[in-house]
């Protein structure tokens, strides 16, 4: 418990603690407006449609908001000192070594994927995927107001990615990872000598494959088959689904690729945690 309390009260982790309150608050705030919109069928702010002068109405809001934020920042800065540890020493590696808090979801992904995926390919795809959002979301509804009913798919994908795969992983990486990047529950003491037996095996091994070349081929088939799910669904549903018709082939390929890539993370997490799977595809050049 003491290690957990030390982490929670660490000055640099204040933002994480703040996020634990801010995210649920804003989810509640937006959910309430979305529910009202969905119930009445009219956007909850639709009646506020007249024009007002920016001076004084908007400027006043901005000014008051700035004062409140500066007040919070001032109190925060007076109460809590920025951390300064010992002088840097390349020969003394702290255990655990953690990246800044906003990168801890990425560091947490390193548990499940090799660095070239977790540290380079996935972050790159997150950025590309975020930029692609407006171009692949063809739904014209739900623009400028909160709603759930009118865009359930877009909302659930984004919220899953942002809240579970970004915020929750960040919180886990900050508060629940100890020496050796081992998982420690809040009430557990950090044991720097904890030895976790490495019983993980590759997926091909679980299927009884012992030969490296066959394992390589098996892994390729599994990964390729996984990403082929997108085109297969397209061929199967293209004539019956209005959604697919509207989306078009190019957009559909981008959407399905990004969606399957995003789901690959929780799938790998489940395989690792519950089935002790190390790699899905072991090849001479890289491992997935």
């Amino acid at each position: 418990m003491e290690h957990f309390i030390a982490l929670v009260t660490k000055p640099d982790n204040v933002p994480i603690v703040a996020i634990l309150f801010l995210i649920p608050y804003f989810i509640w705030l937006s959910y309430r407006q979305a529910r009202q919109t969905d119930k009445t069928g009219v956007p909850s702010d639709a009646h506020l449609n007249d024009k007002v002068y920016v001076w004084p109405y908007l400027c006043r809001n901005e000014f008051i908001c700035a004062i409140i934020v500066m007040l919070v920042l001032g109190v925060w800065s007076i109460m809590i000192d920025a951390p300064l540890e010992e002088p840097s020493d390349p020969t003394k590696t702290p255990n655990p070594s953690k990246a800044p808090w906003y990168f801890l979801a990425l560091q947490e992904m390193l548990v499940y994927f090799d660095p070239w995926i977790a540290g380079v390919v996935l972050p790159g795809l997150i950025i590309a995927g975020l930029i692609a959002i407006p171009y692949i979301d063809t739904n014209p509804k739900g623009k400028g107001y909160y709603t759930i009913k009118e865009r359930p798919f877009a909302l659930s994908v984004f919220c899953f990615g942002f809240i579970i795969l970004w915020i929750v992983l960040m919180v886990v990486g900050t508060f629940l990872r100890g020496p050796g990047w081992n998982f420690f529950a809040p009430w557990e003491a950090w044991d720097p000598h904890l030895v976790v037996p490495l019983t993980n095996v590759n997926l091909s091994y679980l299927f009884g494959i012992r030969d490296a070349n066959t394992a390589n081929f098996f892994g390729f088939v599994v990964v390729a088959g996984y990403f082929a799910l997108g085109p297969i669904v397209y061929l199967w549903k293209r004539n019956t689904s209005d959604f697919l018709q509207e989306l078009g082939l190019v957009r559909y390929i981008v959407v399905s690729f990004l969606f399957l890539t995003m789901l690959a993370l929780p799938i790998k997490m489940i395989l690792r945690i519950f089935f002790n799977v190390k790699y899905i595809w072991v090849s001479p050049w890289f491992n997935v």
């Binding site: 407006q33 540890e85 540290g119």
Partner: protein
């Protein structure tokens, strides 16, 4: 007395000096409200009039504005911090210590800079969350969403480059861990898949970032210049574009 005061006030506000600075009076007319925005360099990115729903805190969460405010706070406190800080391995840590213990309000200055930076990372993430939830990236605002995603990255990079500057154990190892992944970049990192044999640890993408094979004095200088000059300039340019596009794309999104 009252008459006298009124006369004096009129004399001042009608003087050539006053009228050269302030181009409008303070009468309660729509014309003055409009001039107030149009004739003020700090306010003129606003339109003169907006939809009433755009004032609604429940809708905007004020997060974009707070992000910009946090940027301004870090810019002002950052310039002040630069007076006391030398980006060399010999001095950096001790300059921060000196700042904390001997400079009047030095600790407060450093705290404000660090917490405003953290605040900016939080508010920029929440801003993106809000923009997504309200579907505000949809036509015609697609490009501005892309600019916003780049600004999110720039914010992370600003915060990350600043993380190294105190040159303590926390800074050193956080940046070491954060940049280690660049080793594994496909093709361009020496430990990455498909790396050609002439990519080594002294010429790969991580070397370009660190100016060395480990975090060292040249990394400190490189991150200092990125943090204080290059990235803030980039961020300012992109913010100008971002705010400009908000207006050109029809103001903030709304139900109508």
């Amino acid at each position: 007395m009252n008459e006298e005061r009124k006369g004096l006030k009129e004399k001042i506000t009608n003087s050539d000096i006053w009228r050269s600075i302030f181009r409008h009076g303070y009468e309660n007319t729509g014309r003055r409200y409009t001039l107030q925005i149009l004739q003020n360099v700090w306010l003129h990115l606003h339109p003169p009039r907006i939809s009433r729903h755009a004032l609604n805190f429940r809708f905007t969460w004020c997060m974009g504005g707070i992000t910009f405010l946090m940027f301004l706070v870090t810019a002002v406190t950052g310039v002040l911090l630069m007076f006391y800080y030398r980006p060399t391995a010999e001095y950096a840590f001790h300059d921060v210590q000196y700042l904390e213990f001997d400079i009047p309000f030095g600790m407060l200055l450093r705290n404000m800079h660090r917490w405003a930076a953290h605040g900016m990372v939080i508010s920029v993430m929440l801003h993106m969350f809000r923009v997504f939830l309200t579907g505000s990236y949809k036509k015609p605002r697609e490009f501005n969403w892309a600019v916003g995603v780049i600004l999110l990255l720039v914010t992370f990079f600003l915060s990350f480059t600043g993380y190294l500057l105190p040159w303590d154990q926390l800074a050193f190892w956080a940046v070491t861990v954060g940049t280690n992944m660049a080793r594994a970049t496909p093709v361009l990192g020496h430990e990455g898949p498909f790396a050609p044999s002439d990519i080594t640890q002294s010429n790969d993408v991580r070397f370009a970032l660190l100016a060395g094979t480990i975090v060292g004095p040249s990394t400190l200088l490189r991150f200092y210049i990125l943090h204080c000059v290059a990235v803030p300039l980039l961020a300012s340019a992109l913010m100008a574009l971002h705010f400009w596009r908000v207006r050109k794309d029809g103001g903030i999104s709304g139900p109508l």
